[in-house]
Symmetry: C2
């Protein structure tokens, strides 16, 4: 009997769902709206209904489904307990118990934090394929991360493993991070962070730059201008990458992973980002780990559904 | 048939050996000299001879021995390959293969880095008992460390996991660490490091201190004076603990362990050390991990033999 598995990546706006063979091939993928109203009580029933419907469409019996892996935007304990998901309106719920009630035919339900799950997906089928350990830095609105060791997600005692955006990389910082600390990596290396830092650097220095002619600019424009040779944009990107390289050296002294993966919107800057991070990483890394590879993530928005299914397939 | 296991902790001067029941009780423990002459070729044969002799003394058949766990002062791969041990004169050797040739009756030989093995021992029977994950900071001549996750040692791709002495905690440092980088934790928080830092601080500041009347002082004297209320010694210890707390916050953002353990000679300073590290750790740690316990290691020099046997008993 052919077997299947579902990967379900719950975001604040949409839920991405993938139907996979038990061999790990993606057969179908679609999205449903995340209905966050009424404290998010519709989210899991909507997912269960969508899984029933797609199984019928593909003439798959629920008994043929090996399991469902679910990624959520919040801390998740080893037993599937979700500790508050602000974006979904959820308090503390046990996602496995809830899904088992909605889909009693599928007992195997595994949940994980979305950033960790994306790292697992990248290790399995993306930039980290062929490796057993990886740490991913996702440079989006904030800086998220995920840690995979021996092919498994490292969640941590408080679900805070892989909170790479909150390494204190600049203890002298006076501005607060949204987490309540000061000097977090996220304040310099997220899409918002690099723009914030750029504005400060533009005020402090008088190097000419096309950025000065723009009323508003984004992280993409900083990276584009740096690549085109704008000296000031290059300096801004360099400082962002210096903090990233420093943070990666902290990872290496802790668990010495096989590979670093860079994902998120800012990773579209590509090789200039990887090369500049690498230059600084090698300066700060302990000699034994200096050659650890730094690579771009490859699965984009699909990393989550791959990682969810990998949790189920083991 | 009662079963036994040996834990063998190889140091540069002596080899500590323990005979344990398979239930983990220490029956006997002794030391032999580490003969490092002739590129250390006698070290493993001496250990094998000692194991044979003690087995006879205790009327234990070699067939009753479940295995031998060996800790070495150098990087060790997952398969038991030791990559250079400067202190022992060793190049690259496979310790499992060598021991199997010397003691063919005991096939199960497992090797690990000494700092990692000590952390495992502490997790099993020492300060970390009852936990599944811990990161140990050993404050000795240098700063070593070990990482245990899910009850197993994390060695890392290059054997560099747990190199906690080489977190760059002060990128502004101008003096080089023995590792070739600048600003490593070891430069401030080892027995040598705190004395080095104390001399600089005594020159930079003019706060009165009993340290000024001493031609030579040690880390112990700094800690003792700090406890007795010497303001300057307190400031020195505070700065050392600030770097330690910062480094521990890096660990938490990576793998969020259940407990931190502080061992090594400097840990004899006791509660003043733990309390001061904790104060700074909580300032730098991500909120979810702020309450992670920081404890003293408990097994002292015995941590290694316990950890070695734990590798064998699993």
């Amino acid at each position: 009997m052919t077997e299947y598995a579902f990967g379900v990546d719950i975001g604040g706006t949409t839920v991405k769902i993938g139907l996979f063979t038990s061999g790990g091939d993606l057969l179908d993928q679609w999205e449903i709206v995340t209905r966050t109203e009424e404290a998010g009580i519709h989210v899991l029933p909507d997912i269960a209904a969508s899984i029933r419907q797609k199984s019928e469409e593909h003439t798959i019996l629920l008994e043929q489904i090996k399991g469902i892996g679910i990624g959520v935007p919040g801390p998740v304990g080893e037993d599937g307990t979700v500790y508050r998901c602000v974006n979904l309106g959820w308090g503390i719920i046990n996602i496995k118990a809830e899904m088992n009630a909605l889909l009693p035919e599928i007992s195997n339900v595994v949940a994980g934090n979305d950033a960790n799950v994306a790292a697992l997906g990248e290790l399995w089928k993306g930039g980290g394929a062929g490796h057993q350990s990886a740490v991913m830095f996702t440079l989006g609105t904030g800086v998220g991360g995920g840690v995979v060791y021996n092919g498994k997600i490292v969640a941590g005692k408080n679900g805070a493993a892989g909170e790479v955006g909150h390494y204190t990389v600049n203890p002298e910082e006076t501005v607060f991070c949204s987490c309540g600390k000061r000097g977090c990596l996220e304040q310099y290396a997220s899409a918002n962070g690099i723009v914030r830092m750029a504005k400060i650097m533009l005020e402090e220095e008088d190097t000419p730059s096309s950025l000065r002619d723009m009323a508003v600019f984004s992280s993409k424009e900083i990276c584009d201008l740096a690549r085109e040779g704008d000296v000031m944009a290059g300096e801004i990107l360099d400082r962002c990458c210096e903090y990233l390289g420093l943070a990666m050296s902290f990872v290496s002294c802790t668990m010495d992973p096989e590979v670093f993966l860079i994902g998120g919107g800012m990773s579209r800057a590509g090789s200039i980002l990887i090369d500049t991070i690498g230059k600084h990483y090698r300066k700060y890394a302990f000699h034994a780990s200096q050659d650890t590879e730094i690579k771009l993530a490859e699965l984009g928005n699909h990393a989550g559904i791959y990682g969810c299914v990998k949790m189920v397939l083991g």
